[in-house]
């Protein structure tokens, strides 16, 4: 058999396994042990405030999800059924909105809404909806476009109105996809942190924000860990319920590859298409436009001051506010570079190990996905309370923040790479072996070269994730080491117009860089798809 030697597989596996054990499993276990020991659990659960926070987290997530699904089904239907000019642009726009850092989306809504609505629950829900419409379009839309059109036509022939066709025939059929999308949107809204830090008032706090507040402002580490654990438990319950729900409602559908898109025919259809397309575009474009506009606006009219004087934060001669926007840009770039390197090395090696180790590979794969299921705040808190005693007192180490970012990014790198590596035809390796290459050499010649391209995509993803990461960074960054999202949150938390405008400048920059990275990723992905297709 043409098997790689065990020592090589083991050597490959050891890198991701050690990284995961040290930087995820250990902090997470510390957090759980800390939460369960002592009186923190009784204190926290006995405090009425805790349940108010839980209740708020729950109801805002439910409302956000309901509104997102309602709003998102229209563009999902639009994109799944109709061909129109600007269709792919619209899809791209929604995707771009979805990948924006949470802090940027919060900033955009802060820029958009009048002061009276800022820092209310409605602003929060608005941001959640704008953020997550893309999820509905992607998840529901992709099932919808595979749904055969016959049944819709049959119903129409039998005299059902268009409204009836959609509500009685199509929607029940895509129900599993709606449940799936709703679950994702609910998870995002339930664990919302960046948006709330920008838009929330003290009365509108999610569990995630409360974890951060207790740990970093009140010094109540025990209470913070209990809340983090409580959140994980609630999420587990929701996920289990959703899995069961999806299973019971799923039914066999005669799915087609892709039902052909058609142009709007009747006048009613044409106006539906153009209204729906424009409304969707507005949801994506308006908040971002507001962001850019606010970076140029001052009480005395338009000005490029905030851009040209970035970094001048004096409130009185010699007295600055301790936030340097320019430093934040530099810090973010350095952090992103290291985080990308860490994520690419760990993710790349892990991908090779996962595909080489077959059965054990699935274990590593699943293990590396764990950080995704844990909120970033939980990861940051865990690292903070674990790495604070010698010999692992790493709080002052420059690499701690990038490692935290890499932890969040590795699952994405692995997903991109493993997919490609798995599709490498084993016949090639066999052929190399037949030609006399020893297993390691055959593997090096036939499998490893396929790693580079997806790894490039993974690197761009990791950079985007690192630049926008806010939850873990909120715990790990030190004074003077603020990253862009941290600086944006601090600047927008001020009331002075100069400082606010600089916050909007930074948010605009971050949005632009993220969108560029995502366009690069999408291009690389689609050119790969084409290459595979031919």
């Amino acid at each position: 058999m043409n098997r790689l030697p065990r020592w090589l597989v083991a050597a490959l596996a050891i890198v991701p396994v050690v990284a995961l054990a040290v930087f995820y499993v250990w902090p997470f276990t510390t957090l759980v042990v800390e939460a369960l020991s002592g009186t923190a659990i009784a204190d926290t659960l006995g405090r009425p405030q805790t349940w108010e926070v839980v209740w708020f987290t729950l109801w805002q997530a439910v409302v956000s999800t309901a509104v997102t699904i309602t709003v998102g089904l229209v563009p999902a239907y639009l994109v799944a059924r109709f061909a129109f000019r600007g269709r792919s642009l619209l899809v791209g726009l929604l995707t771009a909105t979805f990948v924006l850092p949470t802090v940027v989306m919060g900033a955009a809504f802060l820029a958009l809404l009048p002061d009276s609505l800022d820092r209310t629950v409605w602003a929060v829900i608005g941001a959640h909806v704008a953020f997550n419409v893309a999820v509905v379009v992607r998840v529901v839309g992709s099932l919808w476009e595979h749904l055969p059109t016959d049944m819709e036509y049959a119903a129409a022939t039998l005299g059902a109105s268009r409204w009836h066709v959609v509500t009685r025939v199509s929607l029940p059929l895509v129900r599993p996809a709606i449940t799936a999308a709703a679950t994702i949107v609910f998870l995002f809204s339930f664990t919302s942190f960046g948006v709330i830090r920008i838009l929330g008032a003290p009365g509108t706090r999610t569990i995630e924000v409360e974890v951060w507040r207790r740990a970093t402002q009140l010094g109540d580490i025990g209470g913070a860990t209990v809340l983090a654990l409580l959140q994980l438990t609630l999420l587990a319950v929701v996920l289990t319920w959703s899995t069961i729900a999806q299973r019971t409602h799923s039914r066999a559908l005669a799915l087609r590859p892709v039902a052909p898109l058609r142009r709007a025919r009747t006048r009613a259809e044409r106006s539906f298409v153009s209204i729906a397309a424009w409304m969707t575009a507005l949801i994506a474009l308006v908040p971002l436009t507001a962001l850019v506009v606010r970076s140029f606006s001052t009480p005395d009219g338009w000005s490029t001051n905030a851009w040209t004087n970035l970094g001048r934060t004096d409130v009185r001669p010699g007295l600055r506010v301790g936030i340097d926007p320019v430093d934040a840009i530099v810090n973010s770039l350095i952090n992103a570079a290291w985080a990308t390197l860490f994520a690419v090395v760990i993710g790349g090696v892990a991908s090779l190990a996962i595909t080489a180790a077959k059965r054990h590979g699935r274990l590593i794969d699943g293990g590396l996905m764990l950080p995704l299921g844990t909120s970033a705040v939980t990861i940051g808190l865990g690292m903070l309370i674990t790495f604070d005693v010698a010999p692992v007192d790493w709080r002052a180490s420059w690499w701690l923040v990038p490692v935290g970012h890499a932890l969040v990014a590795v699952p994405f790198v692995v997903r991109v790479c493993v997919g490609v590596l798995r599709s490498v035809d084993p016949a090639m390796t066999d052929a190399a072996a037949t030609l006399g290459a020893p297993p390691v050499r055959a593997w090096r010649a036939t499998v490893v070269p396929y790693l580079w391209r997806p790894l490039g995509v993974g690197a761009a993803l990791a950079a985007a994730i690192s630049l926008g990461e806010f939850g873990a960074t909120s715990f790990l960054s030190r004074s003077g080491g603020e990253t862009l999202p941290i600086a944006i949150e601090q600047l927008l938390g001020r009331t002075g117009t100069t400082l606010q405008a600089q916050g909007y400048v930074l948010a605009t920059m971050l949005a632009a860089v993220t969108v560029v990275l995502v366009v690069v990723i999408e291009q690389a992905q689609s050119s790969r798809d084409r290459a595979v297709g031919t």
Binding site: W26, L319, V389, S479
Partner: protein
């Protein structure tokens, strides 16, 4: 004592966690035969908490140390910074300033980084927060040389707050509600004179305060109201303030420079300092010889600020030299006109503007540090619930 036990508890739970992680590591990498990565670390259990700060004196020179401070401390371009430069000339130790937010935020960070600090010396922990700093092991106890040898005289009322030399009292002042004299005059409205007045609907929406969770003047003002209304009565007072439209912001700089009418904001009363009025005279442009802002004496709470050596500093010797310098006459004499606080060093003469315009209330409110320590986080939680709810 209980603090030690609890820390040890935390440490042992840490090793349980490490054990679990290591077990998983071994299990997951079953295909690799040998790994003894993490077993050696148990021996480190013996690291002592709060060990006595004995370090051999180091030779200094060409060293740079970091002074961690709150955001109203000037970073450059003032005579206070010139004084720090003079310290560098005398000792060869350069001082870098690291601003860590308002005092509450700064202390929270210091607590989380205790033992592995963001800098070497911290300036500006006040009497409302000192006990938390001490409990969390933020400081390395050190009695400044000038206090030991008697060359610096500081009021016993201040030194008695730090009986074990936990930190050095560096300045004091009063946290008081300030008002914009012109704003009230224009409207023919008498400014309030008591804490109770602030809840009067006649003054609705006219007060901005700092969040006591993040800001030390905010906490001092909360304590002033607790002093007035008692452990059972302050909640009702704050409900009334809330109903009267009190505004809450995160830091003093934000409250004063961004919300107060005199600095261009919309709110004519702000929780600031008894010594803020002289600041307005000194920074007045064009110059003026009376202060545009006044102080409501009934609202004043005594605030004493401390500086100390941060536990875990890499340069303990240089850090101690800086603390010695911070209570010395040269630096202390720059405090009134830069930070607008009173120097604790009694040898310093106050500048004339300061004597003329600063308000020292006849009676300043204060609370027993032990009472503050026992209740601080409960009060802040209750306050948050009540006012920001």
């Amino acid at each position: 004592m209980s603090e030690r036990t609890s820390r040890r508890g935390v440490r042992s739970s840490r090793w349980v966690a490490l054990g679990a992680a290591a077990a998983l590591l071994v299990a997951a990498s079953a295909c690799s035969s040998d790994d003894d990565e993490d077993h050696g670390s148990e021996s480190n259990d013996s690291v002592a908490v709060g060990q006595p700060p004995i370090a051999p004196p180091e030779t200094t020179g060409g060293e740079t140390i970091t002074l961690v401070t709150y955001d109203s401390f000037p970073e450059a371009d003032t005579s206070l910074n010139d004084a720090l430069a003079a310290f560098a000339d005398q000792t060869g130790i350069d001082v870098e300033i690291l601003v860590a937010g308002d005092a509450g935020t700064m202390l929270s960070k210091a607590s989380l980084t205790a033992g592995n600090p963001e800098g070497d010396v911290m300036w500006g922990v006040d009497n409302t927060l000192l006990s938390r700093a001490v409990t969390d092991g933020v400081f390395d106890p050190y009695v400044a040389a000038g206090i030991l040898d008697g060359s610096v005289t500081i009021d016993d009322a201040f030194t008695s707050l730090v009986p074990n030399g936990e930190a050095a009292p560096v300045d004091y002042g009063d946290v008081c509600v300030n008002y914009d004299i012109g704003w009230f005059a224009e409207r023919g409205l008498e400014p309030p004179t008591t804490l109770a007045d602030l809840a009067d609907p006649a003054y609705a929406g006219m007060l901005v305060v700092e969040n006591p969770a993040t800001s030390s003047p905010g906490l001092a003002f909360l304590l002033a109201t607790i002093h007035e209304y008692g452990l059972e009565g302050w909640q009702a007072y704050w409900s009334a303030l809330g109903a009267n439209g009190v505004e809450v912001v995160e830091s003093w700089t934000q409250a004063y420079y961004e919300r107060f009418t005199w600095a261009g904001g919309p709110t004519p009363m702000v929780v600031s300092y008894g010594s803020s009025p002289p600041a307005e005279v000194i920074f007045a442009d064009p110059p003026r010889n009376d202060s545009p802002t006044g102080v409501i004496e009934d609202t004043c709470f005594r605030q004493v600020e401390f500086a100390g050596v941060l536990r875990g500093t890499d340069s303990p010797d240089a850090a101690r030299q800086l603390v010695d310098f911070l209570i010395g006459e040269e630096f202390q004499s720059e405090l009134p006109l830069n930070l607008f606080v009173y120097p604790t060093n009694q040898a310093v003469d106050l500048p004339q503007e300061f004597v003329d315009f600063a308000v020292v209330p006849e009676v300043s409110r204060s609370l027993d540090p032990a009472v503050i320590d026992a209740n601080r986080s409960i009060w802040i939680d209750e306050w948050t619930e009540l006012v920001l709810g």
